[in-house]
C-alpha cells in the first residue's frame, strides 16, 4: 500500500474512533438523563402511581354530582422508623371536582428524635394525574421529637376529568426513615417543617 493510502486509512480509523467515543459518551450521559426523563414521564402519564411531590393549585370547577368515587387511605410503616402513622379515616366518598381534607396522625414512639418521609403512591395508575394535592405531609421530610405526636393534613381535589371508569382511588403512604438525618445535632438546625405543610 502506498504511504498515501496508509495515511488515509489511519485518518479514517481516527475519525471513526472519535465518533464512536462521542457516541459512547452521549449514551452514558443518556443513561443518566433517563432518570429525570423517566420521572417526568411517570408523572405525566401516572405510570407506577407516581405523583407530584409539589403542591398543585385547586382548580375551581363544577362538582360532578352524578358520580361518586371512593378514596381509600392506606398507611404503611417501612423498616427502621419507630413511628406510627394513621389516617383519621379509612376512606371518603367524593364527587369529582370536590376538595377534601383528611388528617394523618404521626407519633414518634421512641425516646429520641428522628426524621421520616412518607412516600406516596396512587392506584389505579390512570387516576394518578387526576388527584391534585395542595397540601400533603408527603411533600416534605418530617421531624418528630421523642414521644411527639402531630397531626398533618392532606388536602386534595379529585379532578373532574377523572376517567369515567374509575370508581375507587387508593392513596398509599409508606413511611421511611430519612437516612443520615438521625443525629440530633443535625436535626437541631432544622425548623419543624411539619407545621408549614
Amino acid at each position: 500500500m502506498s504511504p498515501n493510502e496508509t495515511r488515509a486509512r489511519q485518518a479514517g480509523v481516527r475519525r471513526t474512533v472519535w465518533r464512536s467515543v462521542a457516541a459512547l459518551a452521549g449514551m452514558f450521559a443518556f443513561a443518566f438523563a433517563l432518570v429525570p426523563l423517566y420521572d417526568a414521564f411517570c408523572r405525566l402519564t401516572g405510570i407506577n402511581g407516581k405523583v407530584d411531590t409539589t403542591a398543585q393549585a385547586i382548580v375551581s370547577e363544577e362538582v360532578d354530582e352524578s358520580r361518586t368515587v371512593t378514596v381509600q387511605f392506606i398507611t404503611r410503616n417501612g423498616a427502621g422508623l419507630p413511628w406510627h402513622m394513621q389516617a383519621e379515616t379509612r376512606q371518603v366518598r367524593l364527587h369529582p371536582g370536590q376538595t377534601s381534607e383528611v388528617n394523618f396522625t404521626f407519633r414518634n414512639q421512641s425516646d429520641g428524635e428522628s426524621w421520616g418521609r412518607a412516600v406516596p403512591s396512587v392506584s389505579p395508575s390512570n387516576a394518578t394525574r387526576h388527584v391534585r394535592k395542595t397540601s400533603c405531609f408527603c411533600f416534605e421530610e418530617q421531624q418528630l421529637q421523642a414521644g411527639e405526636r402531630i397531626e398533618l393534613p392532606l388536602v386534595f381535589q379529585l379532578a373532574r376529568d377523572l376517567p369515567p371508569e374509575v370508581h375507587t382511588v387508593t392513596l398509599v403512604y409508606t413511611l421511611y426513615p430519612v437516612e443520615g438525618k438521625r443525629q440530633p445535632q443535625q436535626a437541631v438546625v432544622q425548623t419543624k417543617q411539619g407545621e408549614e405543610a
Binding site: R76, G78, S123
Partner: protein, 372 residues
C-alpha cells in the same frame, strides 16, 4: 441420512411419551376465573398458529434437505432473489400478526376492566411470606409456607402439596369481583396463581392493582414468581375460594377472633404460654433468616443465640423487632404482628437457645408502647 431419520423418530417418541405420561399438568391450566379461560384460549390459538407455520417452514426445509441432497447428485439451481416471493413472505406474516393482535388486544382490555369491586384485598410481599389485609374489615394475617423443613431436607416423606401449602390461605368468595392491591416491604416479589391467571409484581414503596372473579370454589395454589432472595422458592400462595355465604361467615369469625385476641392483651401472661406461642411464631416468621436454632447466617442475618446486645438490652431488642432495621431484610413488625404475638416471640428469643435472660415480655407492655 438414515441415522438422521432414526434419531428423529426416537426423539419424537420420547417427546410423545412424556406427554402421555404427564397428560395431567403439562399445559397452561384453563383456570377458574372469569378471564383465565380466555387467556388459555389465546395461548392455544397462538400455539396452533405457530405449529402450522412451523410445519410449513420445516416441511419445505426438510423436503429440500431430502430432495436436493448432493449425494443424490442434485445440481444446484442458480437463483438468489425473487421480489414477489419476498414481498409475499413479508406481507403474509404481517397479516397473521394482525390476526393475533386483535384477540390479544381484546383480552387485554378486559384485564384492564376498572369496574367497581366488592372486596379489596391488600397483598404485601415480605421475605418470605405473603400478608393479606381485607381492607376495611380489620382482618389481616400472614401466610407462611407450611411444609416442614424435614420434608424439604428429605428426612420425611413429601406430602401431596409439597411446597404449595401454607398455614393460612387467602380465603375469597366466588362470583364476587375482588380487587387486589400489591406492594412489598423489602424486595420485588410477584404474586401468582396460575388457575386465576393473575400474576402481578409487588414493588416496595409502590402499589399495583389487579382483580379476579373466581367462578368455582376450590383451593388454588401458586408461588412467588420474582426472585426475592434465599427462600424465593419457599413462598407459596394458596387461595381458598368458597361460596359467598361461607365467606361472610368466615370473615365474621375472623373478626371475632381478632377482637378476642385483643381482649387477651390486658391480662398477665404465663412465661410458658408465651414461650410456646413464641416458638411457633419464630418458626414461621423468623427462622427462615435467623435459622431454627437462632444461629443466623452472617453477614446478612445476624445470630440471635448468644447475641450480646440482644441479651443485655431488652429495650433495643423490643424496638428492633417492632420497627425493623432500615436497609436490611429486618422488617417492621408493629403492624403485622399483634401485641400478643410480639410479646410471645420476644419472650421466646430472649430465653431460647441458652439466651436465658429470664425476661418475660408482657403483651400489655407492647400494647402500651404501640399506644403511646
Amino acid at each position: 441420512m438414515r441415522t438422521l431419520l432414526v434419531w428423529l423418530a426416537g426423539g419424537l417418541t420420547l417427546v410423545g411419551s412424556s406427554q402421555v405420561a404427564l397428560a395431567n399438568g403439562w399445559n397452561m391450566p384453563v383456570g377458574v376465573s372469569s378471564l383465565s379461560g380466555e387467556i388459555y384460549g389465546l395461548h392455544m390459538t397462538i400455539f396452533w398458529i405457530c405449529v402450522v407455520i412451523g410445519v410449513v417452514v420445516f416441511g419445505v426445509m426438510f423436503y429440500s434437505l431430502f430432495k436436493f441432497r448432493h449425494s443424490r447428485g442434485a445440481k444446484a439451481a442458480n437463483f438468489h432473489e425473487n421480489t414477489t416471493v419476498e414481498v409475499m413472505w413479508t406481507i403474509v406474516p404481517l397479516l397473521i400478526l394482525v390476526g393475533m393482535a386483535v384477540p390479544a388486544t381484546a383480552t387485554l382490555q378486559k384485564i384492564y376492566d376498572p369496574s367497581e369491586a366488592e372486596l379489596d384485598v391488600m397483598v404485601t410481599g415480605q421475605q418470605w411470606r405473603w400478608r393479606y389485609e381485607y381492607l376495611g374489615e380489620d382482618v389481616s394475617f400472614n401466610s407462611n409456607l407450611a411444609t416442614p423443613r424435614a420434608q424439604i431436607n428429605g428426612e420425611e416423606e413429601r406430602g401431596e402439596h409439597y411446597l404449595l401449602e401454607v398455614d393460612e390461605p387467602l380465603v375469597l368468595p366466588v362470583n364476587r369481583k375482588v380487587r387486589f392491591l400489591f406492594t412489598s416491604d423489602d424486595v420485588m416479589h410477584a404474586w401468582w396463581v396460575p388457575e386465576l391467571a393473575v400474576k402481578q409484581d409487588a414493588i416496595p414503596g409502590f402499589v399495583n392493582e389487579n382483580w379476579v372473579e373466581i367462578e368455582e370454589p376450590g383451593i388454588y395454589r401458586g408461588q412467588c414468581a420474582e426472585l426475592c432472595g434465599v427462600d424465593h422458592g419457599f413462598m407459596p400462595v394458596v387461595v381458598q375460594a368458597v361460596e359467598e355465604e361461607e365467606f361472610d361467615e368466615w370473615l365474621a369469625e375472623r373478626k371475632e377472633a381478632a377482637a378476642e385476641e385483643a381482649m387477651g392483651v390486658d391480662r398477665e401472661w404465663e412465661r410458658d404460654e408465651l414461650m410456646e406461642r413464641g416458638e411457633g411464631i419464630y418458626g414461621s416468621i423468623c427462622a427462615s433468616c435467623h435459622q431454627p436454632e437462632g444461629e443466623g447466617s452472617p453477614p446478612a442475618f445476624p445470630a440471635l443465640a448468644g447475641n450480646e446486645q440482644l441479651i443485655s438490652d431488652e429495650d433495643w431488642h423490643i424496638t428492633t423487632v417492632m420497627n425493623g432495621v432500615s436497609g436490611t431484610a429486618m422488617p417492621s413488625f408493629r403492624d403485622t404482628l399483634n401485641p400478643v404475638e410480639l410479646a410471645s416471640v420476644l419472650t421466646y428469643t430472649r430465653n431460647a437457645w441458652g439466651n436465658d435472660t429470664g425476661d418475660v415480655v408482657q403483651p400489655a407492655d407492647i400494647a402500651e408502647r404501640l399506644e403511646e
